[in-house]
Amino acid sequence: MNQILPWAANFAALCVILAMALAAVRMMRGPSAQDRILALDAFYINGMLLVLILGVRFGSAVYFEIALLLALFGFVGSIAMAKFLLRGEVIEP
């Protein structure tokens, strides 16, 4: 009927893919380790947004669980790596 929502979803997906590419460039170029972790965190958030946009585009509720798991694993990974930079080990005795 109306084609506005699929086109908006396509545009938003392209934008988020471009944002992921920029974050990946920063992750490869980053001068220090904390820059790389920050870029990886932004990369995870953008990937989660891409999965949510695909869920709107294809009208399926399955994508929501994938997005929730991506947000969770991104948070756990960033915390673990920041803790490793801070202390030299992830789980302190």
Binding site: V16, A19, A23, S32, L38, D41, I53, F64
Partner: protein
């Protein structure tokens, strides 16, 4: 139910929110790439963590609520989770960055 069969009064705000979320994601990643210092770079992804995520999650909430015919509060879960975890990550990264910079300065000029 695919994305074509949504009524127009719900499709237009959802499309606007999606476009705004995509543009905000690109702006925040461009800031992440272009800003010169680590502590300045830390500010850029917060834009897409709060407002970009909020826009896309609002569009998803609107789409699924209208297409299912009932309020679907699942997206609020992700919103709450992001709002809780993003400051924790930023604070730990700031602490790690300060610690590493101080230790590098101590290594460079001992005593």
């Amino acid at each position: 139910m695919t994305a074509q069969t949504l009524p127009l009064w719900a499709a237009v705000p959802a499309a606007l929110l999606l476009v705004l979320g995509g543009v905000l994601a690109v702006i925040s990643s461009a800031g992440l790439l272009r800003l010169p210092d680590f502590y300045q770079r830390l500010h850029a992804p917060t834009l897409s963590n709060t407002l970009g995520c909020g826009c896309v999650l609002g569009a998803s909430l609107l789409y699924f609520s209208v297409s299912e015919g009932a309020l679907m509060p699942r997206e609020i879960l992700i919103t709450l989770f992001i709002a809780m975890t993003s400051p924790v990550t930023a604070m730990l990264l700031i602490k790690a960055g300060r610690y590493r910079e101080r230790r590098a300065n101590l290594d460079r000029e001992p005593g």
